[in-house]
């Protein structure tokens, strides 16, 4: 069939052997690829009795049927596993080149099971898979490993962990192509627990496409639309995602000093405008992407990709730091050590508040830009107080008696939008299946930017419809594995048509959203099976009870209860947030 490679690579690290077998095409049709396929396979392979850092957990790397076709942004791939940070189902996706190359090597999915007795790295070429000793690589940082294993963007691509993953930090990332990451939820620790240092791919064949003419037409239309949208043709290439700093701050939704305030006086100093003016070398892009949102920044000490908005916020406003150079350096360090920047920054922010309130004995306090680099290193190597920070803010804050100071949901640190300034975002964080995550259906567009149209960010009634739609849509895009920035110029219906043109199977926009809904419900079932309940669909007490005292969002708390009730009903779940049998039957999940 076209689009999919129709092959799964199944690796057993216990025995250092592998097998390949056909992808179940019925499953593929219903779950597409990426996040969807990963979730479906994880459902079978990893149950509630499995500890995320044990050999019984698996890593499922997955492409989609559009990957490597050459469609705009058809370079992304995802990893699915049980998260060592949250204990929920996890998928994280990344761009760059690795995913495209993995597809060209001839696979849709790679399952990595077990644990290798000694450090190992895997080499995948068309038709052959080999295992190599990684003793000399263990301990090496990401850049060094990537270079040593022969990274060549279009031909040979390296995916690896850094010291943070080796040391089983629960916020460790898996890095690919040097500076791109699969970071949220700590997949790096899972890879580290398997003694797997790196996976290198070389591929050959692009996937088949059924309707070449239609494919070309849609490619052309997408190119036109992306060029015509000022978001993808001007704002993102020129300023990067950090362009969000000033506007989110302006409307009073920029969490500052561990969510104590919602505006940061130093926002301008760490904004996209300042980055472009002072530290930007150029922009860059992933394979087959015309947008080019990647930053390449340089300070006296470092040059590298990034920082993104979330990173700049996490080490910036969250920590009360307005020193953009220090932030750029912290970002480069995170990439080299292999740590999730959002969780790292937010955990440091939490530590800063614990310290200022006298709950821990530390020199950390808000504004200490000079301590960022040391903190990140300490986390990666579990040194000194870093040992407490390495496993995320919730475990740390709980240990010192104040779990309420961890700005997280289901244990995952919240990103750069204060939900007291955006009610819909609050509902999104509370209900996201992998923990507080903005990528599951960012309400930023509707509530702040007016994309496609502005809705009242303080309104509560009716918000859940939008959140549900966005969650479903994001899940479908994560299952194709495309970049959500394409969605800023091109409507969902194009993705459905592209999928149809490539695979020959008819998908309508409604079908794609249905796939997203199916994936969402499956993830929900997974979490329910793990023991998560309605009580976990919540936010830190600060956001529910402590109204902001100043700024444009002054006086607001997140009104979660009414939104959550409406949300459960809208999703066809009962009042405990459990999908009703009727909904599961509708989504063809009834047999699970």
């Amino acid at each position: 069939m076209a689009g999919w490679a129709e092959k799964i690579l199944d690796i057993d690290l216990n025995t250092k052997t592998y097998k390949t077998y056909p992808l179940d095409m019925e499953m593929a049709r219903s779950f597409i690829g990426g996040r969807g396929l990963g979730a479906r396979l994880l459902w079978e392979l990893v149950g509630p009795e499995v500890d995320p850092l044990s050999p019984e957990n698996v890593l499922i790397f997955a492409n989609g049927p559009l990957t490597a076709t050459g469609y705009q942004t058809s370079n992304r791939f995802s990893v699915s596993t049980k998260s060592p940070l949250t204990g929920t189902i996890l998928d994280a996706n990344s761009g760059g080149f690795w995913g495209m190359q993995f597809k060209k090597a001839g696979y849709d999915v790679m399952i990595v099971r077990g644990r290798s007795e000694k450090p190992v790295w895997i080499e995948i070429k068309p038709g052959e898979v080999s295992f190599h000793d990684a003793d000399d690589l263990w301990g090496m940082r990401v850049r060094a490993v990537t270079a040593k294993l022969g990274q060549n963007n279009n031909r040979r691509n390296v995916l690896c962990i850094g010291p943070a993953g080796e040391n089983l930090s629960r916020i460790a990332a898996i890095m690919n192509d040097g500076e791109r990451s699969l970071a949220r939820g700590g997949p790096g620790a899972v890879m580290g627990s398997k003694n797997l240092k790196a996976i290198v791919v070389e591929g050959k064949d692009r996937p088949e496409i059924v309707d070449q003419e239609r494919f070309k037409f849609l490619l052309y239309e997408t190119r036109k639309l992306l060029a015509a949208s000022p978001l993808t043709s001007q704002a993102l290439p020129e300023f990067g995602t950090v362009v969000m700093m000033n506007i989110v701050n302006n409307v009073g939704a920029l969490p500052t000093r561990n969510h104590q305030q919602s505006q940061f006086e130093g926002a301008e100093a760490i904004s996209g405008e300042t980055l472009t003016e002072k530290y930007l070398v150029k922009n860059a892009s992933c394979w087959a992407c015309p947008i080019g949102c990647t930053r390449v920044s340089r300070t006296e000490k470092v040059e590298g990709e990034g920082p993104e908005f979330e990173t700049t916020w996490a080490f910036g406003a969250a920590c009360g730091i307005d020193d953009l150079e220090a932030i750029i350096e912290a970002n480069a360090l995170c990439n080299d050590l292999g740590i999730d920047t959002i969780s790292a920054g937010s955990t440091i922010a939490c530590a800063m508040e614990l310290s200022e309130r006298g709950y821990i004995d530390s020199d950390l306090c808000f504004g200490r830009a000079d301590l960022l680099a040391r903190s990140v290193e300490d986390m990666a190597y579990r040194r000194d107080f870093g040992a407490d920070m390495a496993d995320g803010s919730l475990r740390m804050a709980t240990k010192y008696g104040h779990p309420e100071l961890s700005m997280s949901a289901k244990g995952m640190e919240m990103p750069a939008y204060d939900p007291r300034g955006m009610q819909g975002q609050g509902l999104l964080y509370a209900t996201s299946n992998r923990g507080a995550c903005h990528m599951r259906g960012n309400m930023l567009g509707l509530e702040v930017l007016g994309l496609p149209k502005l809705i009242d960010r303080f309104q509560v009634q009716g918000k859940s419809s939008f959140v549900i739609l966005h969650q479903n849509s994001s899940a479908s895009i994560d299952s194709l594995v495309l970049c959500k920035f394409t969605n800023m110029g091109v409507a969902d219906e194009y993705f459905a048509r592209m999928l149809s043109a490539v695979t020959g199977i008819q998908y309508a926009t409604g079908d794609m959203i249905r796939v997203g809904e199916r994936v969402w419900n499956l993830e929900r079932l997974y979490n329910l099976r793990e023991g998560f309940t309605r009580a976990d669909d919540t936010l830190p007490p600060r956001l529910l009870n402590e109204a902001l005292t100043e700024g444009p969002s002054q006086g607001w708390v997140v009104q979660l209860e009414p939104m959550l009730k409406e949300y459960y009903r809208g999703r066809g779940w009962d009042e405990n947030g459990v999908p009703r049998p009727q909904k599961l039957a509708e989504l063809e999940l009834a047999n699970l």
């Binding site: 949208s229 704002a235 950090v242 000033n246 506007i247 409307v251 930017l449 007016g450 994309l451 502005l454």
Partner: protein
């Protein structure tokens, strides 16, 4: 006088970040901008209407583009104007 802050690509067009102008309502302020910086206003307005996805806030509250721009202002109001931008 109200302060108007410009962001992203608009700064380059205007050559500056902040403007102060006399004006009793938002429409008046924008007309005032138009007299001093015609290319800036061309980036913001399409005839009488805001260009799609231009974001204007007054003291951090979004201006609803459908409502028209005849919004009264106080002397110490802070207006922010953003071109179409996005991120994540």
């Amino acid at each position: 006088m109200p302060v108007i802050s410009l962001y992203a690509g608009l700064r380059k067009i205007a050559g500056t970040r902040d403007l102060t102008l006399e004006g009793e309502n938002l429409a008046g302020i924008i007309r005032g901008i138009g007299e001093r910086y015609p290319s800036l206003v061309a980036a913001i307005l399409d005839g009488d209407h805001l260009r799609p996805h231009i974001i204007i806030t007054i003291n951090g509250q979004n201006v609803d583009p459908e409502r028209g721009l005849e919004i009264p202002l106080d002397a110490n109001d802070h207006i922010a104007i953003f071109p179409p931008i996005a991120g994540g």
